[in-house]
Subunit: 195 residues, 2 copies
DNA sequence: CTATTTATGTATTGATTGCTACAGATATGG
DNA sequence: CCATATCTGTAGCAATCAATACATAAATAG
């Protein structure tokens, strides 16, 4: 049996282009026509390779985390818990003000924007978000056990707080905030935990 | 000359229904068909009374601020600046976890969601947002002059920070966060300014 | 070679989008 | 009553939406 005609485009490259469009225009604001144009393929190729619009979006979301969420891993690898939070907030400010990227954060945008729409997308977002928060909390709990955290700071509450501040920064970035403005928010949030 | 046939529906009531739908589904996620059904009128009546979809949305946004942003005025009327911030954050938690309302904040949703779409909407959002922040900053500057603020806290930076935290809370609320979760974020943000 | 399998490009599907033409209804002014 | 002005419901506009039918092209297996 034959193996069929080989695919003529690079799936990862096409996915990157789709991600770019989704990032800029959101899930509902992006049409198949825009996607196929940006990806350089025709609708049948898109559907054969990625399923449908929702599946393509979920794959783009996954790629977004892998390609643009690396500063997260760097932060979690910081030697101290306080250094992790520092890295997280400052790199978020840096990332969100990078003018090479569309404004704002694709995940935040999707959480806020797809509420009544595709349920599977919401589930994927919720699990990615809670996993990220859990990793921060675990790191803080370790620091707490080692006595390296202010004693009146609860790791769970503080992890959630840091996430909320970052999400707020993403909203500001979507509204046009620049690097300086975002960095000031980050520095302000850091004042709660004296170095 | 005659004055014409009188309108058979209540504009404010219809606007409230439109607001409800926009709040739940966002601007792009709401169709004229959904709007006319919720408002109990037909398309020609909608267009005659409100212009078009974008104008209707902007009027709904304005009504949203008037009807659901009253806790903002209460906060600004608080006797102390610290009390204002307290009121702002706690009432935001309360408002965002009110299960009578759709999830999240319509303004935050719109900032994040309409970026490439209607430009006039973005302008309206930006001016409303910066006006709100300016009012908070002005109140803090007054407190600063009176020596009622921590000396190392800049009023402008702190006002922006409080706004960002509230916007982060709105994102969490859109993602399904409950009252307790939001209140913990609010209390955490308040710890920066010892009572 | 033929048979099979998969990808591609064209062209199109039915449904939905925001919006409106049109005719009839209901008010006021004369 | 008549003329004018505005609203209402039906019905439908062109454009766009996500998704596909179909024929052809390009690969492997035998």
């Amino acid at each position: 049996m034959g193996m069929g005609r080989p695919r003529e485009f690079d799936m990862d490259r096409a996915l990157d282009h789709a991600l770019e469009v989704f990032w800029r225009n959101g899930y509902e604001g992006t049409s198949i026509a825009e996607l196929t144009q940006a990806m350089g393929i025709n609708p049948p190729s898109l559907y054969a390779a990625f399923g449908n619009k929702e599946e393509l979006f979920r794959k783009a979301l996954q790629r977004y985390v892998e390609q643009h969420g690396r500063y997260w891993d760097d932060a979690l690898a910081a030697p101290t818990a306080r250094g992790m939070v520092e890295h997280l907030l400052r790199e978020a400010a840096n990332f969100l003000s990078n003018e090479c990227n569309p404004r704002g954060c694709l995940m935040v945008r999707s959480v806020v924007s797809c509420s009544d729409a595709a349920e599977a997308i919401q589930h994927q977002l919720a699990s990615q978000r809670s996993e990220a928060e859990a990793r921060v909390r675990a790191r803080l709990e370790r620091a707490k056990d080692e006595g390296l955290m202010p004693p009146d700071l609860d790791p769970g509450d503080f992890a959630r707080y840091v996430m909320a501040v970052m999400e707020g920064m993403a909203v500001r970035a979507a509204g046009g905030a620049g690097r300086q403005e975002l960095e000031q928010i980050a520095e302000m949030a850091l004042r709660m935990w004296p170095a």
